[in-house]
Each structure stands twice: as structure tokens, then as C-alpha cells.
């Protein structure tokens, strides 16, 4: 496939890996933000191509993983409410809440519909006028424009039975929180390509400057990842901390103007709790008052209490790059994709699932 196969070519990958080795005079530690990148790194064995001094640590870019237990519990509560159908991306169905998950709740009669696009949830609302359809809006900046358009379409169609439960999260505030932590060991960052396709990368420029950390906007294929790493290593070796764009075929500095304009018109930043990490100021998005009629939290009376994480799960440390999945005592024993303790073992973007799936049970 064009625009994919070229970036999976082994010759190019080896040339880039050799160049990284040539450029390095000392060890470096780089975080890739996006869970999709983490999976590609493990799937294609990128770690084996890299010189031994280069450590990749995995970031928080797995929206399913960082969705707090309380919100998953609220989604389950909605699905169990008479007359309500909860529409969700498939990725969310097996993520454990405090007591159960959406799939298990569905087996016991809760109404859960799996959708590929938020527009499908709107179509469902058109078809089932006697039901309230709630879309579980999980995702980073990449996913928000689609949800915005779905809500807009619901208003245009005059639908009174469509709303969203927003769990949307934003990368820059989380990156600030991670880099600003006294325990941070991150020297360079690969920014998530598709988040920047929407939002651009202007927001990362003050972050690179403030923390003295190079940020390279990077794609998802092996050649993209290796080129992103090379650009990052060159900056580190030269003592630079700038924002560079490896993924120029899909990312412009200003992002997608149309998408950003609609998202800003409809959503506003709110403080959001990240599972395993805690509350990060202005790191989530909620519908603005003019659109609140489509906010499930305004439409339904939902539980509000906080819930505790299972004590054995170290997902917060994994999501901040402080620990590798195999450093968890429960990894691959008491925590597996079939019986997960935490979300990173379930999600197709979770670091624990990637290490489990590709057989990395040790360093």
C-alpha cells in the first residue's frame, strides 16, 4: 500500500539505525508518547536495531489506559440504565472499571453497542428513536474532531436521544506533567504524529524550550520511528532542544485548521483525572455550555464518587515511562490480557499488552 510500504522497508530501516549508531557518543533516553508507536516499536523489533545505549521509554498516549475508573463505572452505569444504549469503540469494552467491564455488563443484559466511528452512534440514534444513545467519547486530540462533527450532526438532525460521555484527553498538559516531575528521566520526546495532524505542533515549542527537551513529531511506521529517533539523537548530541517534524507528509505546523476551529467552538478544556497518574489541570475536554444538552453527564444523574485503583497495578508508573511492564510483579502472571488488572494490559495501545503480545517478558 502506497504511503505505508515505503516506511516498512528494511533497507531504509537499517540505514537509519546505522546512522543513529554513528550519531551517538553517549547513552540517551527517549520517550515515545503514543501507544500506537509503542506497539509498532515492539511489533517490528525496533529495539533490536538500535544501539545498546539508546533506551526507549513508553508514554501515556493510550486513551483507553488513562480513562479513570470513575468514568468507566459511569459508562457501565449508563449501559445498565433502562432505555439507554451505550455506544463505544471496541477498545474500551474489556477495560476493567472498579467492579466489572462493559463486555461483562453486556453479558448480563446491559445495552452496549460497538461502533467504529462516532457517526455510527448518531445513525443508531436515528434508527432507535425510543432509546437514548450515549457515545463513550474516549480519545486524544485525534479523535475529538470526529466526535465534534457527530454532535453537530445530531443537533442538525434535531436528535433529542443522542449524547456523549466525554473522556477526551490532551497530550501537551500530560507531557508537561511528566517532564516536570522530579523523577523524570526523559531526555527527548517523540510526539504523537496523528495528534499533531489535528492540532499541529506549536503547543510543543514552549515545552521543548522550558524543559530543554527536543521534541520530534513522528509517524507510526518503522522507518518513521527510526528517523524520528535519529532527529532526536542529533539534537541531543548537538545540545539543541527544538521541535522538529519527521512526519511532514501528514503534519503541518498549524495542524488541521477546520478541525481545530470546530473543536474549539464546541469543547472547552477541563481538569481531568488520568488513571494511575492523578488530576492534570486543563488536560481534558468537555462540551461548552451551548452544547451541554448533548453532554450525558448533564442529561443523566450519574454517580460522582472517586474509586481506588487495584493496589497491585503499577500502570501509573508504566504510563509515565518510570517502569517497564516486565518490572511489575503481576505482569504475565496475575495480569494477562484475558484477566487484566489494569487497562494497559487490555488496550491495543497499552504498553503491557504490547510487551505481552510480542513476548518481551524481560529486559
Amino acid at each position: 500500500m502506497k504511503h505505508l510500504d515505503e516506511y516498512r522497508d528494511s533497507g531504509r530501516a537499517r540505514a537509519l539505525a546505522a546512522e543513529i549508531a554513528r550519531a551517538m557518543t553517549r547513552p540517551w533516553r527517549i520517550m515515545e508518547i503514543c501507544g500506537g508507536q509503542t506497539h509498532a516499536i515492539l511489533r517490528f523489533g525496533i529495539g533490536e536495531l538500535l544501539p545498546p545505549g539508546l533506551e526507549l521509554v513508553h508514554g501515556p498516549g493510550c486513551p483507553v489506559c488513562v480513562t479513570p475508573l470513575e468514568l468507566i463505572d459511569r459508562a457501565i452505569e449508563l449501559a445498565q440504565t433502562s432505555g439507554v444504549v451505550l455506544a463505544s469503540f471496541g477498545d474500551m469494552l474489556r477495560v476493567p472499571g472498579s467492579k466489572t467491564d462493559l463486555l461483562a455488563a453486556r453479558a448480563r443484559g446491559a445495552q452496549v453497542a460497538m461502533v467504529y466511528s462516532p457517526l455510527e452512534a448518531v445513525r443508531l440514534a436515528v434508527q432507535k428513536q425510543d432509546r437514548q444513545i450515549v457515545f463513550f467519547a474516549v480519545g486524544f486530540e485525534t479523535t475529538v474532531p470526529g466526535v465534534a462533527l457527530a454532535v453537530r450532526e445530531a443537533r442538525q438532525l434535531g436528535l433529542r436521544n443522542f449524547s456523549i460521555l466525554s473522556a477526551h484527553v490532551l497530550v501537551p498538559p500530560a507531557l508537561r506533567a511528566i517532564l516536570g516531575s522530579p523523577q523524570s528521566r526523559i531526555q527527548g520526546v517523540l510526539a504523537a504524529g496523528h495528534v499533531c495532524t489535528v492540532e499541529g505542533y506549536e503547543d510543543y515549542e514552549p515545552i521543548a524550550a522550558e524543559f530543554g527537551v527536543p521534541v520530534v513529531v513522528t509517524g507510526f511506521e518503522p522507518v518513521d520511528l527510526l528517523q524520528g529517533i535519529l532527529l532526536c539523537v542529533r539534537q541531543l548530541e548537538q545540545g539543541r532542544a527544538e521541535v522538529e517534524n519527521q512526519y511532514a507528509r501528514a503534519v503541518r505546523r498549524e495542524g488541521n485548521r477546520e478541525a481545530k476551529a470546530l473543536v474549539r467552538e464546541m469543547f472547552e478544556p477541563v481538569d481531568r483525572k488520568w488513571r494511575g497518574i492523578g488530576v492534570i489541570p486543563s488536560s481534558g475536554l468537555a462540551l461548552r455550555p451551548a452544547w451541554r444538552e448533548f453532554d450525558a453527564e448533564a442529561r443523566f444523574a450519574l454517580s460522582t464518587g472517586a474509586v481506588e485503583e487495584p493496589s497491585e497495578c503499577i500502570s501509573g508508573l508504566v504510563l509515565q515511562g518510570a517502569k517497564k511492564p516486565y518490572e511489575c510483579a503481576a505482569f504475565a502472571t496475575r495480569c494477562t490480557p484475558e484477566r487484566p488488572l489494569g487497562a494497559p494490559m487490555v488496550s491495543s495501545e497499552g504498553a503491557c499488552a504490547a510487551y505481552y503480545r510480542y513476548g518481551r517478558h524481560h529486559a
Partner: protein, 82 residues
């Protein structure tokens, strides 16, 4: 969840800019996608599709430049499977 795949626009359907849809081919597998956020996209263009929405048109010139930069490193001539 931020997975987005490049595909070629085969045919554009739908009227006003915010409801414009397309049939997009991903190596022969054809799916519908909204073109609301890529108003300039036309048949034959490659777009990056995420959850039913085209998020950006692939910039062919930038793609060529990226591959050229890598070719300058040498070693890129050994084409093959990963």
C-alpha cells in the same frame, strides 16, 4: 486509538462541505469516510483516515522529500521485506 491509515479517494459523494463523504480504498478494501476536515481533497488524493474521518491529505512532495533524505544516508538501495 490514534490509529489512522492512508487511503486513496476513489469517489466523492454528499453535498455541502460538512457532510461531504468519500469512498476510500485502503489497498483495495473500500470504506466510507467523511471529508469534512479536508475540503480541498479530490479523487486520486491520499487521505489519512481515523475513525471514519479524513484528518489530512497526504502531502506527496513532503513524502518524497522524507524518502530522499533517507536515501542520502546510503544503504536504502537494499529493498526488501521488514
Amino acid at each position: 486509538m490514534c490509529l489512522a491509515i492512508p487511503g486513496e479517494i476513489i469517489e466523492i459523494t454528499g453535498g455541502d462541505p460538512l457532510t461531504r463523504m468519500a469512498r476510500v480504498s485502503f489497498g483495495g478494501v473500500v470504506r466510507e469516510a467523511s471529508l469534512a476536515y479536508v475540503p480541498e481533497a479530490k479523487p486520486g488524493d491520499y487521505v489519512l483516515v481515523h475513525a471514519g474521518f479524513a484528518l489530512q491529505t497526504i502531502d506527496e512532495e513532503e513524502a518524497r522529500r522524507t524518502l530522499e533524505l533517507i536515501a542520502q544516508l546510503g544503504g536504502a538501495e537494499e529493498e526488501g521485506a521488514p
